[in-house]
Structures are given as C-alpha cells and as structure tokens.
Symmetry: C2
Subunit: 312 residues, 2 copies
C-alpha cells in the first residue's frame, strides 16, 4: 500500500469517519474533530481505561485526575508556546459591566466578531495529561529514594481541525508518569514498552513500534524534532486505523530527560535534577483502532478480546 497517494488515504479516513457517524458510534457536533461519543464508543473506551489500570496495578502509582484545564501561569512556564503554539487553546472570558454586555449583544446580533472583547482568563486547555504532574511534585519538595509514579488521565486539547477521525481536537489521554533518577525513568520506559506490546497483542491489534518526534512548530522545530529522534527520546506504538494511510500512534513512550525536572525544580534525594518519562495511552485512538480492526459491533468481536476488555 506504500504507493497509495495522500488523496486516497484522506478518502479512506473520511469513509471510516462516515461509517462511525452513520452508526452513531460518534455523533457530529458541527466542527471537524469535535464529536459526541455514543454508548458503544464509551463502553470500549472504559474497557481500555480499566485495562490500563490493571496493566499498572501493583506498581503503587498515585492516582490523580486533573480537569481539562491548567493554570495559565504554569502553562506559560512550561514552554509549550515555544514548541507547539499552533496546538494550544487559551480560555477567554467576558469581564465587563451591563453596558459592555449590551454592546456585546448588539455585536452578536449584527453578526460581527464579538470575541475580541473577551479577556484571557487564568486557565488554558490542558495540552497533555502530565503537564500538571511536575508542578504538583515540585510543590511537595524533594523526591523520595523511590522517585514518584503518578497515574493521570485528562481531556486534552489540540487545535488541529481534521476529518481524519484519529485527529480529534478533544481527546482523553491516560498516562503513567515516572519521575526520579535517569536509571529509574529508563527502566520504567523499557518495561512499559514490553507491557504495552503484550497488551496490544491481547487486543488482537497489529502494531509496530517506531522512533518518533513531537510536532514542533516551524523551522527551529525541525531541529528539535531531529534531536528528539536521534536520541530516541520518543517511541510510538502504531496501529493501522485508516486504509491506505500511515498507521496511527496509539501509545507513546517518552523520555523527557531533565527537561521538566529543571523547569519546575524537582530534585532526587542526592540533589540532582530529576529526570522524567511517561507512557501515554491515546484512549480515543485505541478505541478507533479496535473499531477498525474488529468492526463497529463489539458483540461480534473475538471472545478473547472481549474477555480482555470487559472482564466477565
């Protein structure tokens, strides 16, 4: 299929999206990449979420759930706008009085742009589930000998409207985040790459693991992406979802080195800057991969796959 052009791939992904919408698995909400989730979709996603919990059980991870926003001050400090300005979403509010409100309503009625009067609030949409973990750990002071292991899940936002069903603007990312010495982080990442392969095989999904990079913005971003690849700081587990298109990254295994530790001032007991890494499950993408592989009706899926997702 390597000679299938981009046009055909786009057609195939749109055809899959159309099937999902027609079956009510996804529900149109009026914008590309923004969908309601029908009962079938949620049932699968919840099965995957529970599977990710069982796969990490016994590791003693601290469970935290963050809302779909983070504080703007933390976001600014994170440097996200340096690397990925095109993907971020800031949240703006009306702060005026009754007179300003009347002007706003006149503006809306005239069909003019009323949003220019909105002022940036102190929160932004969460770009990745682990972003709030580092300031949380920093606020607690130094790490213990064993380092930290945190289990997080959050709705994340990426501003990239697309009819490619795996490229949603809003999606749920489940992560295990490891913070500690370089050895602790690398052992965690290698261990999870093996666990993830076993997990994906138990779901009957074809897969490959490849070196990858984040979608850094612009020409300076090209250099950052090259460094990330050459140092193998990001691996992705890819599963075919769209016919004739490249397979889709459904999990990623990331080594942040000392980036977040230095940024937030997280230290190991010997006073060194902590390293961090994470395994991230793209729950929507995994759900779509299962629907693509096994069909839109989970009742007809192979019994072993059903047994893995929904324990009897």
């Amino acid at each position: 299929m390597s000679d299938v052009g981009a046009g055909s791939a786009a057609d195939a992904s749109t055809a899959f999206l159309d099937r999902l919408l027609k079956a009510g698995v996804l529900i149109p909400m009026g914008a590309d990449g923004v969908y309601g989730r029908g009962a079938v979709f949620e049932h699968i996603l919840e099965g995957l979420d529970a599977l990710a919990t069982r796969a990490g059980a016994g590791d003693g991870a601290e469970r935290v759930r963050f809302p779909p926003v983070m504080v703007r001050r933390h976001f600014e400090h994170s440097g996200y706008m340096k690397g990925f300005p095109q993907l971020a979403g800031t949240i703006h509010c009306f702060c005026g009085d009754e007179r300003a409100h009347r002007a706003l309503l006149r503006c809306m009625e005239a069909g003019e742009d009323w949003t220019t009067g909105q002022a940036a609030s102190d929160v932004v949409l969460t770009p990745a589930a682990c972003y709030e973990v580092y300031p949380m750990l920093a606020a607690r002071g130094g790490l213990p000998e064993a380092g930290a292991l945190v289990d997080v899940m959050s709705w994340c936002f990426r501003h990239e409207p697309s009819t490619e069903p795996t490229r949603m603007q809003l999606f749920r990312m489940r992560e295990y985040v490891r913070v500690g010495t370089p050895a602790q982080v690398e052992a965690f990442r290698m261990d999870w790459m093996q666990r993830a392969v076993a997990l994906i095989e138990s779901l009957g999904l074809p897969h490959t693991i490849e070196v990858a990079n984040d979608p850094f913005f612009g020409r300076p971003g090209k250099l950052q992406a090259d460094i990330q690849r050459s140092q193998q700081l990001k691996f992705e587990l890819l599963v075919p979802v769209n016919d004739g298109a490249e397979p889709t990254a459904c999990l990623s295994f990331n080594d942040h080195q000392n980036h977040f530790g230095a940024l937030w001032g997280v230290a190991t007991p010997d006073g060194a800057v902590a390293h961090s890494g994470c395994v991230a499950f793209g729950l929507e993408r995994l759900t779509l991969a299962l629907l693509r592989r096994h069909g839109l009706d989970p009742a007809t899926w192979p019994t072993p796959v059903r047994g893995v997702l929904w324990r009897p």
Copy 2:
C-alpha cells in the same frame, strides 16, 4: 445558624477546603476553583456516577458523552451570552506564522500580555452538559411519540474563581434530559424529584428541595430570575456542605418549557414545538457533601452508604 455572618461562612468554607487540600483529597493547581482530584475523591465520584446510572436504568435513556467543548456557532445560537456572559469561556488559538511566533515569544519573555494575539477558535467550553443534546436531536428530525430521553455527562466550565470548595471552575455534570410533550417533561421532572430524594436519603445526606433560579446577569437578569421562580421552572436539592453557610445545590430539576425546542426546531409528532427538562447531578458537589457529612476517609463511612455507592 441563621445569624452567622458572611465572614464566618467564608471562613468555614475555606477551612473545609484547607482540610481537603491537606488530606490530598483535592490537589492545588495554582488557581481558585481549579483542583486536581485525588484517588479518594475520584472513587467517591465514580460511585455517584454509577449510582446515577442505576437510578435511571430501565428508562431506556440514550447514553452520549460529550467532550468539554461545544461548537461556537451552536453556543452563539443558544443565547448563553445573553443570560450568563460572566460565566462563559471561549477558546482562542495562535494562527500566525513563524514571524508572528517570534513576536509572541518576545512578548512572553518581556512579561507582556501575549494573549491579545490569540484568535477565537470554533469551540467554547461547555457551559452545561445538556446544551449539545438539542442540536443533536434537531439534526435527527422530528421526535417519535415517546419523545427522547438522553443520558449525558460532561465537564462544564463556569468562570467564577472562588475559595468556596463547591464553586469550582471546572466540574462534571451528569444529566438525564427529557424532550417531548409538556406532559412527558413534567412527569419526568416530578418522578426524578422523588427518585433523587430516595437516592440522597440512601446516602445519609440531610437535604431540602427549594424553588431556585439560574444566575442571570445584570438587572434584566433579575426579571428573568423572578419569572423562573414564580413559574417554579427550577427546583434544587440542597445539602449542607459549608458550616454556617447556606446549603449547596447538588441536584437541579429543570423545566425549560419550549425554550430549547423553539431555539433548535425540535418538534413532537403532532408538529408542536417540543418541551424539554432535565435532572442534573453536580457530581463534584455531591462528592463534597458526602466528604463533609461522613468524613474524609470512606473506609469509616456507614456500611449502608458504602453499600449504596460501591456495590459489593
């Protein structure tokens, strides 16, 4: 306690918040009303969510889960900015090139306001879980004889930073939404008021039900609130959470009359404009009410309450 002043009530609510933060039940994220949820908090909230599912089981509700955003075009059409401009959150993005990006980063480095260059995207934060239900039903055409019953849950945003723990900026709202004839909607609402009382009593929570109004903006809003009250279009189930303060609305029972049906063009089989109503569970507020009533450690809660929340 009716003569306790506002100062004492504020102190008491802050004291409860402090206890929650100290115990790790909630996790500070750097802004009032924005918190991470620890394992205990999520365990209780999930129990409540499952309880709301069981309380509605057998009614044949269609289950849909929406992301924490809705499309701006729908939001504008909904009239939310007329009634509640102060609570809404629009989402803005960077749409510039590399040169604009360099300017943005210089602006951030200089500590200036970089957000003015952000442009409104086509999505806004979801203000209430049911807002996407009406355009969804409208897109399907006329209602069947039995009307529609939809089970939704969504993260919702209200821009009202506060140290009062029940007044979070981001929270999850679970709703059953009924759309059909006036009789169908009113029967649904009366039925759910009874079910909710039984449910809250099974959780050992003291409660009252009162006529209420939405927080309409400004002086014209006062009139709308008065009409809503005089017509008893909104009831709230209140539970004490903060010492010395008014009890907190944890559920609401709403009759929208033909507001959303007319707005979106939803009709009953006889061609009349559909009425709608909903019962809304404030999952964070109910979780806080349980923590306030039974203590911060669910292992010590009364056995019957534990049995209701977490079926053996």
